[in-house]
Amino acid sequence: MPSDEMWINMGPQHPFNHGLWNLRVKLKGETITQAEPIIGYLHRGWEKMVENRTYSQIVPLADRLCYGSSLSWNHLYCLTAEKLFGIEAPERAKYIRVAVLELQRITSHLTWLMAVGTDLGSYTIMTWSIRERELFLDLLCKLSGARMTYNYCRIGGVRNDFPENYERDVNRTLDEFERRLRDLESLMDENEPFLMRTVGIGKMDGKTAMNLGLTGPIMRASGVDMDLRRLDPYEVYEDMKFEICTHTDGDVYARYRVRMDEMRESMKIVRQAMAEAPSGPIRVKAPRCPPKGNAVCHVEDPRGESLMYMVSDGTERPYRLKVRSPNFVNLSASPPMLLGFKISDVPAIMGVMDMCIGETDR
């Protein structure tokens, strides 16, 4: 190996990577010539563990796949189980789920923004976005009783109805957050160092992104109009009026913009779902054992397309539960994203990916 080339282990303990994973990069001078993500430090055997749990017991465990967006995993599990059981949630439960999922999406994106802020050296971004996230955590806490692991969806509906004056509280919060989001954006959009570190970095065109199987905001930032809420609508997303945010640049700045715009769209959806929710039951009784068979279901997680595949052998425990994590796929595309850029660009490129090792390693 020539003396100007070297391998660097960025991780498993490194300030830029959120969670336990390792990024090995080969440098020539300061330029990355080879990269290799290594995961497996947080493997908890989740898929094996749930084979020993009954269907209703897995619901709170599905929260623990990702603490940043626990509700979306919780919901995905319940949706897949409902498909397997052959039941359907009542209409009101669907509207409640959509509203709450979008609140969760905003919370998840704010958590991501906090991480990106510290990666790119601005503590103000971190403190501000964490402060705004607290508004939504309070809302979700009032609804479900927990701040992060909600355990809210149930097979066949949701746990409880909206508490008193919930719609008023949500609308007030969203009004306030809309103002604050403008301030928050000005921290980044008018910040010269932030732009220097993001514009033109980690470029990836739409065709490459599709070939690599990227999902979520990273895919949409490359100009590919792909959103499962529109392409394969679940719950009541087809009745909601919202835009799918895409950007044509395909660089880190575009990925940041897509997520910021998505927060605005999520707010629109929350307002619609809260206003249009019909009255009625919120939960149907689910049977204990599903019929033999399998079910597969995919939803649009804040990070991309997440999928669960469930096989039942007719007993009260699943025979197999496969989880497809969006981050696992996005992480596998990191070498082509990193090649040719400097080592100081690594935090920007990988940080904007919104890494969550809990769901990647499972």
Partner: protein, 251 residues
């Protein structure tokens, strides 16, 4: 479709208002807001966040209501609830849940499964202990002053009624009129009356079927279930030596 075009241009770079005054505006706005309002942070051990009534902390128990049906122990995803024998002044030796809070993940499933709302979700979350044994809460230590809103109640509808159309009724959690029933396969029953002995609510009564055992010349008894008392804890199903009992679900 692309929603908002915002692109950084080189012209912004040279415009003084673009990156000096605008940013200063943001800074001053933040500074004024921070001086005018109270800080967002709190001094934690002395000052605590306000939590709603349904805040999910550790599980608690109201011992007067508990019937020892072990549904919480069955529902717990982490298997942290164990039924232990304790001596109660009015009931004598009974089995009551003991929770290992070192394993508990505060999901509230035990309170949701409880048929008498004896298991409650308390807002207590400061549970540090110097030893692991200190985290194992026996039924007496697990008790918590009860307040309305600590129980987990839910309502549900039945799928068969929803599919049939018409008026959809919602039922409360422990509605006796719709809950699952235990059914007996009379051919398998050996009249051991273990189910009647294990039933925590006394819903099982051994009644004579009218037949007579040809060997002993005694009348054969088989369990009869009182569905208004039954809480579907399935302890009789588990204890039956011949698997004569099964659960019939209401859907």
């Amino acid at each position: 479709m692309r929603i908002e075009e915002r692109r950084y241009t080189k012209a912004d770079h040279f415009r003084a208002t673009g990156y000096v005054l605008k940013t200063m505006k943001v800074t001053f706005k933040g500074a004024i807001r921070a001086t005018k309002n109270r800080p967002c942070t709190i001094l934690y051990p002395w000052e605590k966040l306000l939590y709603p009534d349904n805040f999910r902390g550790r599980p608690g128990i109201v011992l007067e209501r508990c019937i020892g049906c072990a549904r919480c122990a069955k529902e717990c995803p982490n298997q942290c609830i164990e039924m232990v024998t304790i001596e109660l002044p009015d009931k004598g030796k009974v089995k009551r849940p003991q929770v290992n809070l070192g394993r508990c993940m505060m999901c509230g499933n035990c309170a949701e499964a409880c048929p008498t709302n004896a298991m409650i979700v308390t807002p207590e979350f400061e549970l540090c202990s110097y030893s692991r044994g200190g985290l194992i809460f026996d039924p007496v230590k697990l008790q918590h002053p009860h307040k309305a809103g600590y129980e987990v109640n839910y309502s549900f509808a039945l799928l068969s009624e929803m599919n049939a159309g018409g008026e959809i009724k919602t039922y409360a959690k422990n509605d006796n009129s719709v809950h699952d029933t235990i059914v007996l396969d009379g051919a398998k029953c050996i009249s051991c009356s273990r189910c009647a002995k294990t039933c925590p609510t006394g819903a099982i009564e051994m009644v004579e079927t009218g037949e007579v055992n040809p060997k002993t010349k005694k009348p054969i008894k088989q369990p009869k279930f009182d569905n208004t008392k039954c809480v579907v804890c399935e302890q009789c199903v588990d204890v039956c030596p011949k698997s004569a009992l099964s659960v019939k679900e209401v859907l």
